[in-house]
C-alpha cells in the first residue's frame, strides 16, 4: 500500500526545522496547559485548531499531537503536588503521587510519572505504526454496507461505555446526529433544517460546535462553579536528599512489568472506541495493586502506582489513532479533534489516507515518536517550572482562553455568525454536562453524521432499495449482531467502573474518591 521510500520520506519530514519547531511548541504548550488545573489538552487543542489554518498539514497535526501528549505529562504535576489532577487521566496518579509529595519527594513522583508516560506512549505508538497500515488494507475491502454496520457498532459501543447510562448515551448520540443533519442533505443537496439562516446552508461549522462544547462550555462551567480567583501559593515539601529528587535506573527497572502491563492495557483500551485514558489508568492501577506482593503500600506513595497509571493513560494516545486512521472513526474526543484538523487541512481520515497521503501519515507517526522524546527532554528540563505554573490565576487563563476561542472561531468560520453558534453550543454543552449527557458522544456523532447518512444512502442503493438484502454481506451482519449483543450487554451490566471520565460528560464531583479501585 505504501512503499518503503514513502515511509522513509515521511519519517524524514519530521526533521525539517519547521516541523520540529511545531512538535516542540506543541509539547511545551501541552505540558503547560496540562499543569494548569482547569484547561487541559482537550481545551487547548480545541482552541488551537483554527490557528493551524495557515500551516501545512504535517506541522499543524504534529503540533496538535504534541499538545495532546504534552498535556498528559503536564496533567500529572498538579495531581502529584495538589491532589488536583490537571487532566482527568491523571486522577489515579494522585493516589500515590500525592502521598509521595507529602513525604517530601514531589520531584521523584513527577519524574516517575514522566518516565512512565513516555514509556507507555512510545509503546502504543510503535503498535500504531505496526498495525495501522495492515488494518487499513483490510478496511479498504469494506463497502458502504459494511461501513454503515461498523458505524452502528461504534455508536453502540460509545453510547454504552461513555456517560452514565446507555439511554443518555443514545440521546447524546442522537442529538449529535440530528444537529449534523442541519444544512444540505448529502444525496439530494436540498436545504434541511436551516430555518431561513442561509449561513447554515453548508451545515454547522465543526470548529464552532467543537470549541463551543469542549472549550467555552468547560470554561463557563468552571467559572459558574466559582472555582476561579487568584492562585493560592503552593508550598512544595522537600527532604533535601538528592535521592528523593530523582528516579534511579534501579527504581525504573523495578517497575518494568508494571510499565508493560500499563502500556498494554492502555494500548488495547485505546484502540477500542469509547474507552478512554482514565478508564485505562484506573484499570491498570487496580491490576497492578492486585498483582502486587505488597498491596497495602498502594495509596501511600508506591512508585508502581504512578508507573501503572501514567503508562496506561499515555498509551491510549497512540492507540486512539488506530480506529481514526484505519476506519475514519474517532474513538475519543481528542481523536475527534485531530480528525477535524485533518478535515480542515483537506484530508479525509480513513483507509484511503494511507494510499493517498502515505507520506503525511508516516510523517505524523514520526512526529509522534519525536513528541515522546521532546516530552522526556522538556519534562526533565521544565518540571520545576511547571510546579510554579500550577499557581497561575484561573481568572487570567479563562479570560485569555475566551478571547482566543472568539478569535479562533471567527477565523475558522469567517465571521461572528460562527462565534454566535459557538456560544449557543457552549450553553448546550453546559446543560448536557449538568444533566449527565456525554458531550463527547455528541461530538463524535455530530462528526460521523454526514458520513453515516451518505454511506447509508449508498448502502441502500447497493442493496437495491431493500435493507433486508443485507444478508449478502456477512461482515455487516456480524457487526450488526455485535451491536445488538453489546447493547443488551450494556443494558444488563453497566460497567460503571470502566466508564470513561476523560469526556466532559462526566457527572459533577466524580473524582478519584468515587473511582478508587
Amino acid at each position: 500500500m505504501v512503499d518503503f521510500a514513502t515511509i522513509l520520506a515521511g519519517f524524514g519530514d519530521v526533521f525539517t526545522p519547521i516541523n520540529l519547531f511545531f512538535v516542540i511548541f506543541g509539547v511545551l504548550l501541552g505540558q503547560f496547559v496540562g499543569a494548569v488545573p482547569g484547561i487541559g489538552p482537550v481545551m487547548a487543542m480545541a482552541i488551537a485548531i483554527p490557528f493551524t489554518f495557515g500551516l501545512d498539514p504535517l506541522p499543524a497535526i504534529a503540533f496538535l499531537v504534541g499538545v495532546n501528549k504534552g498535556g498528559l505529562v503536564g496533567g500529572a504535576v498538579p495531581a502529584v503536588l495538589m491532589n488536583t489532577p490537571g487532566t482527568p487521566d491523571a486522577a489515579a496518579t494522585a493516589m500515590d503521587g500525592y502521598p509521595l509529595a507529602q513525604q517530601g519527594k514531589p520531584l521523584k513522583a513527577t519524574k516517575m510519572a514522566l518516565f512512565s508516560s513516555v514509556t507507555g506512549d512510545t509503546f502504543s505508538d510503535i503498535v500504531l505504526i505496526t498495525v495501522a497500515a495492515p488494518l487499513a488494507i483490510l478496511a479498504l475491502k469494506m463497502g458502504p454496507v459494511e461501513v454503515v454496520a461498523l458505524m452502528i457498532f461504534a455508536f453502540s459501543i460509545i453510547s454504552g461505555l461513555m456517560g452514565e447510562s446507555l439511554t443518555k448515551g443514545v440521546i447524546a448520540a442522537a442529538l449529535g446526529l440530528m444537529f449534523s443533519f442541519i444544512g444540505t442533505d448529502p444525496e439530494h443537496f436540498t436545504p434541511r433544517l436551516i430555518f431561513g439562516f442561509w449561513d447554515l446552508f453548508d451545515g454547522l461549522a465543526l470548529p464552532s460546535v467543537a470549541i463551543g462544547m469542549l472549550a467555552i462550555s468547560e470554561i463557563l462551567r468552571r467559572m459558574s462553579e466559582g472555582r476561579g480567583g487568584g492562585g493560592a501559593g503552593l508550598t512544595v515539601p522537600d527532604t533535601g536528599n538528592p535521592e528523593d529528587r530523582r528516579v534511579s535506573w534501579a527504581e525504573y527497572w523495578a517497575c518494568r512489568y508494571t510499565l508493560m502491563r500499563g502500556a498494554s492495557i492502555g494500548t488495547i483500551l485505546g484502540a477500542l472506541p469509547g474507552i478512554g485514558s482514565t478508564a485505562a489508568a484506573f484499570m491498570s492501577y487496580a491490576m497492578t495493586k492486585g498483582a502486587s506482593k505488597d498491596p497495602d503500600s498502594f495509596g501511600k506513595g508506591n512508585l508502581h502506582g504512578i508507573a501503572a497509571t501514567e503508562s496506561a493513560n499515555s498509551a491510549v494516545v497512540g492507540a486512539n489513532l488506530i480506529p481514526l486512521l484505519t476506519l475514519g472513526i474517532p474513538g475519543s474526543v481528542t481523536a475527534a479533534l485531530i480528525i477535524s484538523a485533518f478535515m480542515i487541512h483537506g484530508m479525509q481520515p480513513g483507509p484511503l489516507l494511507f494510499q493517498n497521503q502515505g507520506r503525511l501519515v508516516y510523517g505524523l507517526f514520526g512526529a509522534m515518536i519525536m513528541a515522546n522524546f521532546m516530552n522526556l527532554f522538556i519534562g526533565q528540563a521544565l518540571l520545576r517550572f511547571w510546579v510554579k505554573v500550577i499557581s497561575a490565576p484561573e481568572a487570567v487563563i479563562f479570560s485569555a482562553a475566551l478571547l482566543l476561542c472568539f478569535v479562533g472561531v471567527s477565523m475558522a468560520t469567517n465571521g461572528l455568525f460562527g462565534v454566535t453558534v459557538m456560544l449557543i453550543f457552549a450553553v448546550f454543552g453546559v446543560l448536557m454536562h449538568s444533566f449527565g449527557y456525554s458531550v463527547v458522544i455528541f461530538i463524535i456523532a455530530f462528526f460521523l453524521g454526514p458520513q453515516f447518512e451518505k454511506s447509508l444512502a449508498q448502502a441502500i442503493a447497493l442493496l437495491n432499495g431493500n435493507i433486508l438484502n443485507i444478508y449478502t454481506s456477512p461482515v455487516a451482519v456480524a457487526l450488526l449482531v455485535l451491536s445488538v449483543v453489546s447493547i443488551f450487554w450494556f443494558l444488563s451490566k453497566r460497567t460503571n467502573e470502566v466508564a470513561d471520565t476523560t469526556n466532559l460528560g462526566v457527572p459533577d464531583g466524580e473524582t478519584l474518591d468515587q473511582k478508587d479501585p
Binding site: 443533519f181 439530494h188 459558574s224 480567583g229 490565576p393 487570567v396 465571521g415 449538568s434 444512502a457 441502500i460
Partner: protein, 142 residues
C-alpha cells in the same frame, strides 16, 4: 433534583422528538421523490429515537444529581456577558471589546490583583492582536 432532573430532561427529549417528527421536519425539510434515501428519513428516525429514549428516561431515571440553581444563575450571567460582547463586537470590533470583556470576566471570577488584571486586560488582547493581524495576517472578529 436526583430523579426529577432526569425525568425533566427525559420529558424534554420526548416532547422535542415528537415536535421534530410532527412539526419541524415536515415544515423545514424538503421531500424528494427520487434517490435511495429521502432527506426526511434520517432526521425522522433520529427524532423517534430521541422521543423513545426521552420517554424511557422519564420511566427509568438515573441517579444523576444536577447542579443547584446558583450554578445556573451564574452560568446565565456569564452567557449574557459573552452574548453582549459578541453583539458589541459586531458594532465596534474585537479590539475595543476584548479588554472590556477580559476585565469583566476576571472581576466576576474574583481576580482583584492589579498586576494580573493588567496582564489580562492589556497584554493578552495585545498579544492576540499581534498574533492574528501581524503574524497570521488575518482579521479580528467584528
Amino acid at each position: 433534583m436526583t430523579n426529577s432532573a432526569d425525568r425533566m430532561t427525559g420529558a424534554f427529549f420526548l416532547l422535542f422528538g415528537l415536535a421534530m417528527v410532527f412539526l419541524v421536519i415536515p415544515e423545514y425539510v424538503e421531500d424528494v421523490d427520487r434517490g435511495s434515501l429521502s432527506p426526511k428519513t434520517m432526521p425522522t428516525i433520529i427524532a423517534w429515537v430521541l422521543a423513545f429514549c426521552g420517554g424511557l428516561l422519564v420511566v427509568k431515571p438515573t441517579n444523576h444529581k444536577a447542579p443547584d440553581a446558583r450554578f445556573f444563575i451564574r452560568a446565565t450571567i456569564y452567557v449574557a456577558v459573552l452574548g453582549a460582547s459578541i453583539y458589541a463586537m459586531s458594532l465596534v470590533g474585537f479590539i475595543y471589546v476584548a479588554p472590556v470583556l477580559a476585565l469583566i470576566v476576571m472581576l466576576m471570577i474574583g481576580e482583584r490583583r492589579p498586576v494580573w488584571l493588567g496582564f489580562g486586560v492589556v497584554l493578552m488582547p495585545a498579544a492576540i492582536w499581534f498574533l492574528v493581524t501581524q503574524l497570521l495576517e488575518r482579521g479580528l472578529p467584528g
